[in-house]
Amino acid sequence: MFDVKKLKFDKGEFYFAKQRLKRAVRLAIKTLWLHRLRSLLTVLGIVFGVCSVIAMLAIGEGASSEAQDQIKNLGSQNIIIHSVKPPEEQKGSNARQNYVLDYGLNYLDLARIQITIPGVDVVVPARIIRDYVWNITERVDCEIFGTTTLYPILRNQHLGQGRFFTEGEVEAGQNVCVIGAEMADRLFPIESPLGKDVRIGGDYYRVVGVMDPIVRSATSEEISTAIPVHRMFIPIETAKIHFGEVLMKRRSGSFEAEKVALHEITAKVGNPADVLKVSLAIKTVLEKFHAKKDYEIVVPLELLRRAERTKQIFNIVLGSIAGISLLVGGIGIMNIMLANVTERTREIGIRRALGAKRRDIITQFLVEAVILSGTGGVLGVILGILVPFLVSYLAGMKTIITLWSPLIAFTISAAVGVIFGMYPARRAAEMDPVEALRHD
């Protein structure tokens, strides 16, 4: 019996609360509509706050995911070693002097890495030569990779048409090549390049395959190991036969010759957990045999970790900016609500005289503040979703809107309404009804 009674009472109380809230919302909308311009301007603070949060997060997310994609393209299980010109030679080199610079990785390094370091599955060497590639009168400034059959698999570069060259062709040093889709378009605008010949210097190479085009973006310059636009693959033995080991470079009127056996070694580690350990081992081995530091070790996994850390810092910075802009919006709401309370002092007095309790007055002003910030939140979310699309469309940047960013932004904006609406609402409720009625 007692429980039933209590239940009924609760239901009545709930019904009353619901009714009261419904009417408070209606009244608040009416009042806010009465001061349309003021409400709109107040809402704008929150709109831009929320919008900038979502847009910035989307752009940031897009940029970092792009960077991460690129790093992943290098292969997270890979360790890439480049030949670099040692710094002493660079300083001491006299522009007028002609001599052969001998530096960089060689086949011995390749063998050492492959044989002495456990955990390394495969090593792929590459010679990279920059030269013009011709088809009759069309030419392309191209990076020519002399390498083995595994290179595209290890480096996540995909074949579009035809085939990659075979191990037999590598061993025999045959004149075959696989060209990038970008240069294929330039050299063979109409017909299919497959089975055609391209010319480098005095040598002709048969095109056996075309690589997929590389998806490029505004941020691709960030990573030093980015894939060049125009690229061509030939068997490493072929490169040895036709280009030798000494490369001539014309530089400010004089010639400079470099002797570099290998420009790049890619080592694939079998177990992803071992990548860092193996990279240290490679470093130790190379240090022993190279007096000068004429190589550079790039560990994509490490880059990936660094990118993730950068992203974390980025998110913290964005979060603070977002927090500040929402704070500003909240202060705007508080400001307007305080003005509102002062302006409507008499109304508060009337309502109090007619039986309104303090919490009725608090509800009324709080609902107004929450409607302001809530509307701002909704508009901000809509705008914040549109802006990244616009940025993608206009600037060609990749943007990613994660599900939680609009949710969080909206929740915070609604909370801002409650927090910054509380003080004005309390002030309204604390007013003495007699004083309030006398106010004009």
């Binding site: 009714q19 309502r351 309790k357």
Partner: protein
């Protein structure tokens, strides 16, 4: 008179503190108001009649003394309970009407009912009846600024009646009106009195004082005279 005491104030004092100065506005007032009375409270400005009305209207609490309204001591109760009593037992009519500008006539009349949690349909029916009672059936959906002063005051009266109050408290209800509208308003008051409503009205107009059944005159925070007719 066969009526009972509806409001009893006993030795009521009200002291306002302004900085370090204390001002005693009411200095020991004792009065009994009976149901069905039509009372005017008169006196020069500053005599404490408005303070008296605020105390009677439970908008303020006495510094000293007791106030029993409809059998309940309200001189010491909490703010929320005071609100509830204002909403349930009292009706206010103000000199400057004090309508809420963004609400229509009907919505204004509904305000006291809303704070009592009455269902919407019921409130609307009561509001329509009251609008008819004060002769505003053709203006029910107008906003206050679209009405004349007399019409606005009639809305005020309708609003004060919405909760069927024990006492009607009017503060210079005709003070802002021309004499014709004022007379209309006073006629409504007379009607309400004839129906048995208890009315307490503050005024400085002796002519209006003549229309009431009891005239309490204040002077310097004390009752100077209390005349029944």
């Amino acid at each position: 008179m066969s009526s009972h005491v509806i409001a009893r104030i006993k030795d009521v004092r009200k002291i306002y503190r302004m900085g370090t100065v204390e001002v005693e506005v009411l200095r020991g007032v004792s009065l009994d108001f009976y149901s069905g009375e039509y009372i005017s409270i008169m006196g020069p400005s500053g005599c404490g009649k408005s303070t008296m009305l605020n105390l009677l209207g439970c908008l303020d609490r006495p510094t000293h003394g007791s106030y029993i309204l409809d059998g309940q001591d309200v001189s010491t109760i909490e703010d929320d309970e005071l609100s509830a009593i204002r909403g349930r037992k009292l009706g206010f009519i103000f000199q400057s009407y004090n309508l809420i500008q963004q609400l229509s006539v009907l919505e204004n009349i509904e305000v006291p009912l809303f704070y009592q949690g009455r269902p919407e349909e019921e409130s609307r029916a009561i509001a329509i009846d009251l609008a008819k009672l004060v002769g505003l059936e053709s203006r029910m959906h107008h906003k206050p600024f679209e009405l004349s002063g007399g019409q606005q005051q009639r809305v005020g009266i309708a609003r004060s009646l919405a909760n069927d109050p024990v006492v009607l408290l009017a503060d210079e209800p005709t003070g802002n009106l021309d004499s014709t509208s004022g007379k209309d308003i006073l006629k409504i008051f007379a009607d309400l009195h004839a129906r048995g409503k208890t009315i307490i009205m503050v005024t400085h107009d002796t002519g209006i004082g003549q229309l009431t059944t009891r005239c309490v005159r204040f002077s310097d925070g004390k009752v100077e005279s209390d005349v029944r007719r």
